[in-house]
Symmetry: C2
Subunit: 361 residues, 2 copies
C-alpha cells in the first residue's frame, strides 16, 4: 500500500508504517453483513440459553428500544426465556451517593464469582437519561468485575418514567436468568420512588450505609430503613472501625422497634470494608440464611408470585392514567380544576368528578 | 276518648288511663310534614353557618348517601360551605386497639373545649360497615365529650372502599369547619391503608401507644412511625409511669434515626394518662408549637394545597381503575392472565398489555 497522503502541501506527512494487507476480504464483508442483520428472536433465545453474552446484550437492547416492532420481538424473546428463568436470587442494593455502592458491588460480586456464582449486575436509575448515568454509566468503576467471565454488568435503561425503566429492568432479569446467571444484583439510588420499585422486584433488599456524625442518615428517604432486610455499614476500615461498630449497635436497636416483617425475617446489621474485604463474606452469609429461611417457610415463592401480580396491576394502572392524562381536553380542564381546588372554590372530589365526566362522556 | 279496643273477645283489655286530649292538631301535622320534607341545600347551608348541629348532622348524612340526587345536593352544600371552611386545625390520631384511643380523645377533647375550643371528632374506619363500627360506633365510650356543647362526635361513614370512606370524611371536615368547629380530630385504626389516608387529610398526625414488654410495637403497621409528628405514650399512670418513661427514651432515640421531614419538624415523644389527665396539656403544647412553626415556614398552607391536589388525583385514579375492573370481559381475562403470570408463562407486562388492548379496542 503506497502512502496516498503525500501531497504537495504544507501539511506534508511523513510516510509511516503501512497497515497490514487485508488477507481475507470476504470475511470482513461477512462480518459487516452480519452486523447489519438483526438476529431473529429464535436466534436470540438460542444464544441466551447457550449463555452468549452478545445475544443477551442484544436482547436487552431490544427490550430497551422504543420501536414498536422491537417491542413485539422482545415479547417473543421474553416469552421463550420465561420457562428457563426464575432460578436465581435477586438482591437489591441501595444507598445514597458516597457510600461506595460501586466499590461494594465490585468486592461483593468478585467474592460471589470466586465462590462459583454467575453474577449479573443491573441498575434502576430513572435519572440516567438526564444525567447520562449517575450509576453504572461508567463501567470503569467496577474494573475487576467487568473483566470477570462470570459477571455481566449492564447500566440502567434510560427512560422518562420510573415505570418504563422498571419494566425494562424486570425483563432484563428474566433474560439474565435464562442465560444462566444465578445471582442478580439490582443497584439503585434514592431518586424518587426507585427504591420502592426495586424493592418490588427483588427477593432481598440491602441498604448500604457509612458511619459518621449521624448526618449520614439524613440522605436516606423515609421508609427505606423499614424496607431493608439488611443494613451494611461500609468503609469500616482504619479509623472508621470504631464508629462503624457504634453505628451497628444504633441501627440494631432501631430495627428492633419496627414491626415484624411479613417474611418473619429480623433484619441484620453488619459492617464491612470494600477495600480490605473484611465483612464481605458475612454479607453473603446473612443473605444466604435469609434465603434458607424464606424458602423453607414458602415466603420466597409467595413473594415472587405477589411481585408478578403487583407488576401486572401496576402496569395496567399506569397505562390507564397515562391514557387519561394524554387527552388534550383533559389537560386544559385539569389546570382549571386544579386552580379551583387550590383556591377552595371546589372540593377535590367534585373537581375529579368534572374531569371524569368529560373523559367518559 | 272511649275505649274502642273493648270487644266481645277473649282478648279483653281493661280500660286504662286515657291519653291526654290533643290540644293542637295542626301543630302535630306541621311537625309531621316538616319531618317528611328534606331541607333544601340553602336551608342546610344556612343552618350549618349558624352552627346548627341538626343541619350539620343532616348534611353529613346527605354526603354519606348513595342516592345520586343526594350526591348533587351534597355537592351544592359543600360548594357553599367551602368559603367558610379551612379555618381549623386538623389532627389525626391513630393507634392499635387497646391503647385507649377513645379515652384519650375524651380527655384531650374535654381539655380543648375547656380551653374554649370547638372540637369535632370524626373517624375513618372502612371496616365499620362489616364490624358495625369498631371505633366511634359507640358514643358511650366518650361519655363526657358527647354531652359537651362545644363538641360534635360523628362515627365513621360506612362504605366498602377506603376511597369512599375517605371522601365522605374529607367532606365532613369541610362542613364541620363551616359550622365553626376549629379543632377537627380524625380517629383511625390500623386497618389496611386507612392511616395513610388519614395522614393525607390532616395537618398533624399523632400516634398513640402504650408502654410494655416491647411487643406492643408489633401491632403497628410499617411506615406509621415515620408518618407520626408525635408519639404519645398513653396509660402512664401508677406502676406504668417508669415503663412509659423508658419507652419515651427508646422512641426518641429511634425517631432521631429517621430522615428529616419535609415539614422540618422533629417529631416529639411524650407520655400521658387519660385517667389522671397528666400530660394532656403537654400534648396540646406539642401540637401548638408544630402549628406555630409550620404556619411560619408556610409548610402548613403548602401541605393543605398539596393534600387537595392529592385527593383530586387520587379520586381520578381510583375511578379510572374502578371503571376498568368493572368490565365483565376484563374480569374474566384478568383471571386467565393472572394465572399465566403466576405460572411464569407470560411476563406481567405482556399480560397487562393483553388486558389494556381488550379495554381500549
Amino acid at each position: 500500500m503506497s502512502n496516498s497522503k503525500s501531497k504537495s502541501s504544507s501539511l506534508h506527512e511523513k510516510a509511516g508504517i503501512s497497515p497490514p494487507e487485508i488477507t481475507n476480504v470476504s470475511a470482513i464483508n461477512e462480518i459487516q453483513q452480519k452486523r447489519k442483520l438483526q438476529p431473529s428472536s429464535k436466534e436470540l433465545v438460542d444464544g441466551i440459553l447457550s449463555s452468549s453474552r452478545t445475544a443477551l446484550s442484544r436482547a436487552i437492547t431490544l427490550i430497551e428500544s422504543t420501536n414498536p416492532e422491537h417491542l413485539i420481538k422482545a415479547n417473543e424473546v421474553i416469552k421463550d426465556c420465561l420457562p428457563h428463568a426464575n432460578n436465581s436470587v435477586r438482591i437489591g442494593i441501595t444507598g445514597v451517593p458516597g457510600v461506595g455502592k460501586s466499590t461494594f458491588i465490585e468486592a461483593f460480586g468478585k467474592y460471589l464469582t470466586q465462590s462459583g456464582k454467575k453474577v449479573a449486575v443491573l441498575a434502576v436509575d430513572p435519572s440516567s437519561s438526564l444525567s447520562h448515568g449517575s450509576i453504572l454509566g461508567d463501567k470503569t468503576r467496577m474494573e475487576e468485575l467487568v473483566k470477570d467471565e462470570n459477571a455481566f454488568i449492564r447500566p440502567s435503561a434510560s427512560g422518562a418514567t420510573l415505570g418504563g425503566v422498571a419494566r425494562k429492568t424486570r425483563e432484563a432479569i428474566i433474560l439474565c436468568e435464562a442465560a444462566g446467571f444465578d445471582t442478580i444484583i439490582i443497584e439503585t439510588v434514592g431518586v424518587g420512588q426507585s427504591e420502592t420499585a426495586v424493592h418490588s422486584m427483588v427477593d432481598f433488599f440491602l441498604l448500604l450505609k457509612i458511619s459518621g456524625a449521624g448526618d449520614e442518615l439524613q440522605g436516606i428517604k423515609r421508609g427505606i430503613m423499614e424496607m431493608a432486610d439488611a443494613i451494611v455499614i461500609n468503609k469500616a476500615d482504619g479509623d472508621n472501625v470504631k464508629k462503624a461498630n457504634l453505628a451497628k449497635v444504633e441501627f440494631n436497636r432501631a430495627l428492633h422497634l419496627f414491626p415484624i416483617k411479613k417474611s418473619a425475617w429480623q433484619p441484620k446489621v453488619t459492617t464491612c470494608s470494600a477495600v480490605t474485604k473484611d465483612g464481605i463474606p458475612e454479607v453473603w452469609e446473612t443473605i444466604s440464611s435469609y434465603f434458607e429461611q424464606t424458602k423453607e417457610t414458602g415466603y420466597f415463592q409467595e413473594n415472587r408470585k405477589d411481585q408478578n401480580h403487583f407488576w401486572m396491576m401496576e402496569t395496567i394502572n399506569e397505562q390507564l392514567k397515562s391514557k387519561f392524562y394524554s387527552q388534550p381536553n383533559i389537560l386544559s380542564e385539569l389546570e382549571k380544576n386544579k386552580k379551583a381546588v387550590q383556591n377552595n372554590e371546589i372540593s377535590p372530589f367534585a373537581a375529579a368528578q368534572n374531569l371524569l365526566e368529560l373523559y367518559f362522556k
